[in-house]
């Protein structure tokens, strides 16, 4: 599969000072865009496209993929520090990341996230280097029925998130799904729950909901609690110490498992990191003996979602490059950018420009390796931000929340949505409902409904088709396992006694 002479040629091509500086620059920009809630990595790439006109093909492609690789890390930074995921993929990182930061171990939390991210990413890129064409062929076997089963798996994992209060988690999950129903019906195009408002016709975007329910709600809560007028639990307590490589190694199995889950889900066109991170988090909870520790700053709770969502970001590049079918919205933009550069991603890239393909993989790999080694040091700078007094920090977050929401559609409507969900999220927090399940319901609900109904449309309403397709059946069995595992485990324990 791998042609060694091409391999070395690609290394030769990438390792020029200019190209390396593009990798580092692109990665840093990506981290920055990824960290800002609302300013998505796709927007970052669109902003960079005009600059690439003036560079050669190779440097511009390198810049864009490094930016993409970097943006996948960024989302976790704000998730950990401010309980505000920079991207929907990082929602699951807030579960344990934020509590750990609250305990004063922001440096450790960021270090874990960075290292796990880089490891996940490196894993998926290695898979890409070796198995791209084969895997993308298999990915095509995953169709509507399987996608439905996968989203169901994601939703079933909500139960592990809300292990403390299952009923409340399910209520917010359902509200999320209900919000997902607003807009045009995905199958018939009829408008639903829009109340003749043109803004609602396009549905509710999850980014402003996310910024509102996480960032704004958190600030409102902090202000109301008044506990933080002197900084983040007293700024002296913030530990900038990150983790040593050796410490990290004890989590190697969690990293590996999450990377596999992430890569596998990421390859499928039309899924993306959100499902990957929640499924991986759910699996980490399931396989752990001390389930109660999750949600209060357990290292595995940070590692699992971060390794998975970064592996998914890498995985999403596989169908993009090999089939010309982007695996996520951001890779769709990368695809467009590559086309603008005169490249034709798709089946022919492999045969006509294999060198380009390897060069792309290498740039992503180098970007990830830099994060792996440099990331743990760099997080100190981020963690130090928490030493700022909360009054200043909060103002900055509010400012970015407004800019981020506005930037989605360049209009005020999204800002109102964000503020509305800020207030809603505040009350959710007051009464111990989880905003994370709301977002997951919203993100997964759309996909679940669409694929469920499409499968029925394709099969003339045959409900059996969900279980007669082998892959779909296997995933559905996993769903059953996730849902009933606690009950079954209890049953077994009783019998043993």
């Amino acid at each position: 599969m791998m042609d060694t002479s091409l391999f070395f040629q690609a290394i030769d091509l990438v390792f020029t000072p200019f190209n390396l500086s593009m990798i580092v620059g692109g990665m840093l920009l990506g981290v920055f865009f990824g960290a800002l809630p609302g300013i998505s990595s796709s927007m970052g790439i669109v902003l960079m496209i005009p600059f690439t006109y003036y560079m050669g093909i190779m440097p511009s492609v390198i810049l864009l993929v490094a930016l993409y690789a970097g943006s996948a890390y960024g989302g976790s930074i704000t998730a950990i520090m401010f309980n505000t995921p920079g991207t929907p993929e990082a929602v699951a990182t807030t579960f344990d990341g934020y509590p750990m930061a609250k305990k004063g171990e922001a440096g450790k939390a960021l270090g874990l996230a960075m290292t796990a991210s880089a490891a996940g990413s490196i894993f998926s890129i290695l898979v890409m280097l070796m198995l791209s064409p084969t895997l993308s062929k298999i990915a095509l076997k995953i169709q509507s029925a399987e996608y439905f089963a996968l989203t169901l798996l994601g939703i079933a994992c909500i139960s592990s998130v809300g292990s403390k209060n299952l009923i409340k988690a399910l209520i917010t999950g359902c509200i999320g799904i209900l919000i997902a129903m607003i807009g045009l019906d995905p199958m018939s195009g009829v408008s639903r729950l829009t109340f003749d408002k043109i803004d609602l016709l396009g549905g509710v975007e999850f980014i402003p909901v996310m910024i509102g329910a996480f960032a704004m709600a958190e600030i409102l809560k902090q202000v109301v609690d008044k506990a933080t007028s002197e900084g983040f639990e007293g700024s002296e307590k913030i530990s900038l110490a990150t983790i040593k490589f050796k410490e990290f190694m004890q989590y190697k199995w969690t990293v590996l498992k999450s990377s596999i889950i992430g890569t596998a889900i990421g390859i499928l066109p039309g899924t993306g990191g959100s499902i990957a991170s929640i499924v991986s988090y759910g699996e980490a909870v399931r396989s752990c003996h001390n389930k109660e520790d999750f949600g209060s700053g357990k290292p595995e709770g940070i590692i699992a979602p971060e390794a998975a969502n970064n592996a998914a970001a890498g995985g999403a590049m596989i169908p993009t490059l090999v089939l010309g079918i982007p695996g996520s919205p951001t890779t769709a933009i990368i695809l467009a950018a590559l086309v603008l550069q005169g490249l034709q991603p798709g089946p022919q890239l492999m045969t006509e420009q294999p060198l380009m393909l390897y060069a792309i993989f290498f740039s992503m790999l180098i970007a990830s390796i830099i994060v792996f080694f440099g990331g743990r040091v760099a997080v100190k700078a981020f963690a130090a931000v928490l030493k700022l007094p909360y009054s200043i920090l909060a103002s900055i977050i509010v400012m970015f929340s407004i800019i981020g929401s506005y930037a989605i559609g360049n209009d005020m409507y999204q800002v109102w949505v964000m503020l509305g969900f800020g207030i809603f999220g505040f009350f959710m927090k007051q009464y111990d409902f989880s905003p994370a399940t709301l977002i997951l319901g919203l993100v997964l609900g759309k996909m679940m409904e669409e694929n469920f109904r499409r499968q029925l449309l394709l099969t003339n309403g045959d409900y059996n088709s969900f279980v007669t397709r082998p892959i779909s059946l296997v995933i559905l069995l996993f769903v059953a396992l996730v849902l009933f595992y606690p009950a079954i485990a209890k049953l077994f324990k009783k019998k043993q006694k």
């Binding site: 669109v46 467009a336 559609g409």
Partner: protein
């Protein structure tokens, strides 16, 4: 200390706001009308998100127009509700020529389906030029049982055939409905969220037939994974060798040549000389070597896309009647 800092920050923010306010006022003043247009950047509203075909085209076109005007043409994405939000935004701006709107068939369909009673493309806007016209093709996966469009029509008369496309009630849906009506086939439209999901579904064999633009399908056709069976045009595509043997719809006796197109409009009431300047600039860009190269790269040079204001206006009316007719016939309206 902390107090001073916050006062300073508030002061700075206030100053910033004041400055923004001032600049808005000065640019809105009526003075600008008497001087030569354009006095300030002209906004080009792209009613879709970043990265799509409409976005890439409009950005490139704006860049080339900027080179020929004293002020930049500034592309702004106003996405949402299938292009409606951008159109409504453009309708809310002054008719002073500082807002141009990019339009596609989605906007005509929105008119025909009466999606936004408050703002109507044909009532509230005036066409400048149409620039591009894309051709739709039908294809089947390489291992499909259908070898020609004739086979498909025969089979489709008694059996249900599934077609993949995007946006129910949108252009793909309309095109297929028109085709079903013309051929007597039983078509089931299976909508997907994006073009890439459509491709995945077709390559994976989830649906029978693939409907897409030439540029989106070409790679799979060259690669052999998709076999083209029909070109929705009045003649064959001779410029691309893979299409030479593929019949056109008109040649087979079905008058369905619906495809996507992109053009520019301004709000009604923009002064004549401003419109003339914009049209002249667009003409120049269209005829430039740089644009033609771009068009060739994106395969939008197969069917003549350019229409001047008058013919574009006539064409829009025609398209409205067409979509209105289809919508009524199948009960979408």
């Amino acid at each position: 200390m902390k107090k001073y800092l916050s006062v300073a920050i508030v002061g700075l923010l206030g100053l910033g706001l004041a400055l923004v306010g001032c600049s808005d006022k000065s640019s809105d003043s009526s003075k600008a009308d008497q001087e030569v247009y354009p006095q300030r950047p002209v906004e080009l509203v792209i009613p879709f998100g970043e990265g799509g075909a409409s976005d890439i085209f409009a950005r490139k076109f704006a860049e080339m127009m900027t080179k020929r005007l004293p002020q930049p043409i500034q592309p702004v994405n106003k996405k949402g509700s299938g292009g409606l939000k951008g159109m409504i935004y453009a309708a809310q701006q002054n008719n002073d020529g500082y807002t141009i709107l990019e339009i596609t068939p989605s906007h005509v369909i929105a008119d025909a389906m009466d999606k936004s009673p408050a703002v109507k493309l044909l009532r509230d806007f005036e066409p400048l030029t149409r620039i591009q016209s894309d051709i739709y093709i039908l294809g089947v996966p390489k291992n499909s049982k259908f070898t020609s469009f004739k086979d498909l029509v025969e089979y489709g008369k008694t059996n249900m055939v599934t077609f993949a496309g995007i946006s129910p009630g949108g252009l793909d849906d309309m095109t297929l409905t028109a085709l079903a009506d013309a051929t007597g086939m039983k078509i089931r439209f299976i909508p997907y969220k994006s073009g890439s999901e459509v491709k995945a579904a077709v390559l994976g064999g989830e649906v029978d037939i693939y409907l897409d633009k030439v540029i989106s399908a070409i790679n799979y056709i060259k690669d052999g994974s998709i076999r083209p069976i029909l070109v929705l045009n009045n003649k064959r595509i001779d410029k691309i060798k893979e299409f030479k043997e593929v019949p056109s719809s008109v040649e087979l006796g079905y008058d369905v040549t619906i495809g996507s197109w992109r053009g520019f409009v301004v709000k009604k009431g923009v002064p004549q000389e401003i419109k003339a300047l914009l049209i002249k600039t667009m003409n120049e860009v269209y005829n430039s070597q740089e644009y033609q190269k771009f068009a060739e790269l994106n395969l939008v040079n197969i069917r003549e896309g350019f229409l001047n204001a008058e013919s574009f206006s006539v064409d829009l009316e025609k398209q409205y009647k067409l979509f209105d007719g289809i919508a009524r016939k199948v009960g979408l309206k």
